[in-house]
Assembly symmetry: C2
Homo-oligomer: 336 residues x 2
């Protein structure tokens, strides 16, 4: 069971725990500061496939396979997968996971997908409808660049505020039982649109959504930033992260001591030339599964808020002169 | 609370009832056999907007507005919206509903979206995390044609097995309380891919998924087709509907007396030149909200199974030589 706290904010009263998790990343992500923490680093951006889209699908399948293996389960034990990605019609997910034959709910939350999947998986598990569910997502630098920006061979110059879409996938398996790390609650995001229309400044477009979600969770639960080891955002990057902290500070909430951003953590800004950091569904998913969930499991952290952010535009909406709506979903992980 | 019956199949043990619903359709849908039953028929395919994409967004917003008004609620009473559509990155939903400021979960289930949204909304409501949730979706002939097929001005010839994407939207509001019509249970679909790669024969690509989902629900719940007034599929059209009945009959399940297909119902095959019938997320959503839910509310029907089907390919996956994976999600509506 879950309990309604305020609009979109809930706590889980029956146990839903993290049973297993895994991350699979590309070569560049493996060379970054977190390189040691991922389950698999794939050197070939095609992952042995003919197309980048097929490669992205394989990243997802591989992440699920690692998580299932680490749990000591078989794929048949999984009763539900909630998954989505950035490619049109989410083919990274559907083609990657179709061979599993597991009940499937497709999501579109852009780079917020891991948090959205965790919210839906945990609430469906808490309802009693399933005993085991997985939240899965991926992104791929090359599928995202050609779809959202330019053909790679064009070699377009990247602006200083731009971020680098991670080639990465993550999978988290949840179970309806007690465990070391549980999902204590969450906050379902609302769409925020502050009128930003620069596709090379997505961090700024997403920061207001992250601020709204984090503020709502803290106020509704009567907690303060100091109650958490970390308040993690998905992929605001360095520019968006500064903006988030500024926006919340103006509302009387200082998260500067707790805030970390997966996009700012995954690459080395001095040597990897990614400008404002990483982005893409796979960025926050792989950093959650590679860095934060292990830290919780070991007991190095006790409580974290994981707020993944998504920019909900499309190339067509930008061509039609629209601004960028954004959303952030939040999950509260707690160590026993 | 919900109860696990078998993999993907659940029943709801705490009441989740249909509080309100609404449908908004385009001119051609309004001229069809069900024209009298929709809440609003919009003559202008641009719905007063500059682009078809903006028009589709307005269809969704209008459907939600009608449903909220019919429920005697205000928009602020809605605690969650689950929505998706066919346009890349689901901009029909996100741009349509961004002004509402309501917690939002984005879905991608192609034409299965209404059933997927009802499953997620009902289970999150049953978990206790929200008291009121809406499932919403839309499609638009012109946004779909230019994205999935040809520019409209090209005037491409349509093949006999093709279907006509409906310009339509539907919204269902669910509440955690007793009501005349409740959601009794459901079945989360599994991805089925039988190797069909003809984008003009989507009914055949989706029929195996519908058969799998309907069979699993009937067998897991120990019910037979005769226990239901109707077994409704989303948009298999005439070719896919025949195939569905044949596939199930070979497995010993005869649904010919109960089966109806929203795609086969929404247009007149003799006068409207739509070949195999309607399709698109808005097809099953508008027929559910315009025809079946009113019939349940009046008491003309007592139990129906609503299985919306989705084809999960993209133009790029077809260009890359992939077949069409499909899914069907099922919701069991029951009249007190």
């Amino acid at each position: 069971m879950a309990e309604f706290i305020s609009e979109g904010v809930f706590s889980l009263s029956s146990p839903v725990s993290v049973r297993s998790y895994a991350s699979v990343v590309g070569k560049k992500e493996g060379e970054g500061p977190l390189g040691q923490c991922f389950d698999e680093i794939v050197q070939d951006s095609h992952f042995g496939k003919d197309t980048w889209e097929q490669a992205e699908s394989r990243f997802q399948l591989e992440a699920v396979s690692h998580a299932v293996r680490k749990a000591g389960m078989t794929k048949e034990d999984l009763q539900l997968i909630c998954s989505g990605d950035l490619i049109n019609q989410c083919i990274g997910s559907t083609f990657g996971l179709r061979e599993l034959g597991i009940p499937f709910l497709g999501l579109y939350g852009a780079c917020s997908t891991m948090a959205e999947g965790l919210i839906i998986s945990s609430l469906i598990t808490a309802s009693g409808a399933v005993k085991t569910a997985a939240a899965v997502t991926s992104s791929h630098f090359s599928t995202a660049e050609r779809q959202f920006r330019f053909p790679l061979s064009y070699g377009g110059q990247r602006t200083p505020t731009s971020q680098w879409t991670c080639t990465a996938a993550g999978a988290v398996i949840l179970s309806a039982c007690e465990g070391k790390v549980r999902i204590a609650g969450g906050c379902i995001g609302r769409i925020a649109d502050m009128g930003i229309s620069d596709i090379n400044n997505m961090g700024s477009a997403m920061a207001p959504a992250a601020a709204d979600t984090i503020r709502r969770y803290l106020i509704s639960t009567g907690t303060s930033p100091a109650d958490y080891d970390c308040i993690v955002t998905g992929d605001l990057g360095s520019v968006g992260s500064s903006l988030l902290k500024d926006v919340l500070l103006k509302q009387g909430i200082d998260i500067s001591a707790q805030h970390l951003d997966c996009g700012a953590m995954i690459f080395d800004p001095d040597t990897q030339d990614t400008h404002c950091g990483g982005s893409g569904c796979g960025c926050s998913a792989s950093v959650l599964c590679g860095h934060f969930l292990p830290a919780l499991e070991k007991g190095d952290m006790k409580n974290i808020l994981f707020a993944a952010t998504g920019a909900l535009m499309s190339p067509m909406s930008l061509q039609q002169g629209e601004s960028i709506p954004a959303i952030a979903h939040l999950v509260h992980f707690s160590r026993r």
